[in-house]
């Protein structure tokens, strides 16, 4: 099983098992990880599943598509490591992925 670590804005860390083929957002919801709202349910239409990907992982993820970049405009405090977690698909290579949830999803 692929393991993903979520760190909240206060620094608390939670490592959970993720199903390959699902998304990082779905993994967060399934495990009741706080800080991910996913108001639209994964349609890349709301920017409330915004996360910061750990620096060491940024280059290892497929680049954000145009739609995701556009939707990130609706998020707050967007950084170079910002991603929408509904657009990151879980694969075995992502074992150990660490993401930080923002203080607010806006």
């Amino acid at each position: 099983m692929t393991k993903i670590t979520f760190i909240d804005a206060a620094g608390q860390s939670r490592t959970v098992e993720a199903e390959d083929g699902s998304t990082v957002m779905e993994t967060a919801l399934k495990n009741a990880v706080p800080g991910v709202e996913a108001e639209c349910g994964g349609a890349c239409a709301c920017a409330t599943c915004h996360v910061y990907v750990d620096e060491s992982w940024v280059a290892r993820l497929p680049k954000a598509e145009q739609m995701e970049e556009d939707m990130l405009d609706f998020a707050f405090d967007v950084r170079p490591t910002s991603r929408l977690s509904c657009q990151i698909k879980v694969r075995p290579e992502l074992d150990g992925l660490t993401v930080t949830t923002p203080e607010k999803q806006g």
Partner: protein, 344 residues
């Protein structure tokens, strides 16, 4: 005061569930008015995922959000519902009795309805502009910070900071530029979602120094007594203060329960509890169907909303036609129903 619109039913929300309620009510000769804050029908289907495929509508192996809305609009056309877009229901006043309910419904656009029943099909609530999570922003709202332009005059001779990269941000940049003292457009990246011709027009104004473009994000607000003086902006070079006395942030829409919370309905975690026979709330004559309701076993599926609409309509019939007995009929075989549908 505006003229009072009299109707059998007011449906709050024109998403798929609200639209199908028109159909089920129409078969029972009940007229409906629909009110929605969006400028078009379809609710979340049309606003959040018009192009996304939906796979769990019975009889449709796949249909897009917009495709479903278009089909529903076609399906309810024979019943001639009246739509009131860009309006939010604000007030709801009880006029009747539990046995013979009647309500006065008021919108933020000043429309007033008198109706025998209200069907709340408001989904996740009303779509409202997203508020940037910046400290003290509430204290500037409607004096210096606006999420929409209602009167352009409010911006005359002002220094206006417009934030965003979509059509709203670009359109207002171009529209306010002639009357504002200065317009500053700020966006997090030098890449815009808005229509290319407005982006080009903006770039020409920037090139001829008639307005400013800033790449950055809001970090804080400065001012006093609701009067904005400057916005602190996080840029690639660090924090800078941008002097301005008006700000227009365009960060899209989010869903809020809104005034429904004040109608005296029981609420459970922002949802409206209903019974599963009539989908009626604790207030007789007010129904809640679709994503906004809750009951044991509730599933937030469009198909659940359709079922709920059919059952609620049966009860609404009792309120609208208390003297008439309701005869259950099928659209496949009833000439009476087929006449209403315009196919007999």
């Amino acid at each position: 005061m505006s003229e009072i619109i009299k109707t059998d039913v007011v449906i709050v929300g024109a998403g798929p569930t609200g639209l199908f309620a028109v159909f089920e009510l129409g078969l029972l000769d009940i007229k409906a008015h629909l009110i929605d804050i969006l400028p078009k029908p379809g609710g979340q289907c049309a606003e959040l995922y018009p192009e996304k495929p939906i796979y769990d509508i019975p009889g449709f192996p796949m249909v897009t959000g917009q495709g479903l809305v278009d089909n529903l609009m076609q399906q309810i056309e024979p019943f001639g519902p009246t739509f009131h877009y860009n309006e939010m229901v604000e007030g709801l006043e009880v006029l009747g009795t539990p046995q013979a309910p009647a309500f006065r419904v008021r919108t933020d656009g000043g429309k007033i309805f008198e109706t025998k029943a209200v069907i709340v099909a408001a989904g996740g609530g009303s779509f409202q502009p997203k508020r940037p999570p910046v400290a003290t922003i509430e204290t500037y709202e409607n004096s210096s910070v606006f999420y929409a332009v209602r009167k352009m005059e409010d911006f005359r001779d002002r220094t206006v900071l417009i934030v965003g990269g979509g059509d709203s941000a670009l359109d207002w940049t171009l529209n306010l530029h002639p009357i504002a003292r200065r317009v500053i457009l700020m966006h997090r990246r030098d890449d815009f979602r808005a229509a290319p011709h407005s982006v080009n027009a903006m770039r020409e104004l920037v090139a001829s120094k008639q307005m400013d473009l800033l790449i950055g994000q809001i970090s804080g607000l400065k001012g006093e007594n609701g009067q904005l003086g400057a916005v602190t902006v996080k840029t690639a070079e660090g924090l800078v203060d941008v002097a301005c006395d008006r700000m227009l942030p365009f960060f899209g829409l989010t869903m809020k329960l809104g005034p429904i919370a004040d109608w005296g309905l029981n609420l459970h975690e922002q949802l409206v509890p209903v019974d599963t026979e009539k989908f009626e709330t604790n207030a007789p004559g007010i129904f809640a169907i679709g994503d906004i309701n809750t009951y044991p076993g509730k599933l937030k599926l469009i198909l659940s909303g359709f079922h709920e609409a059919a059952l609620a309509a049966q009860r609404v019939h009792r309120y609208v036609y208390p003297e008439k007995k309701l005869l259950f009929q099928y659209t496949t075989s009833s000439t009476n129903l087929q006449k209403k549908l315009g196919v007999a």
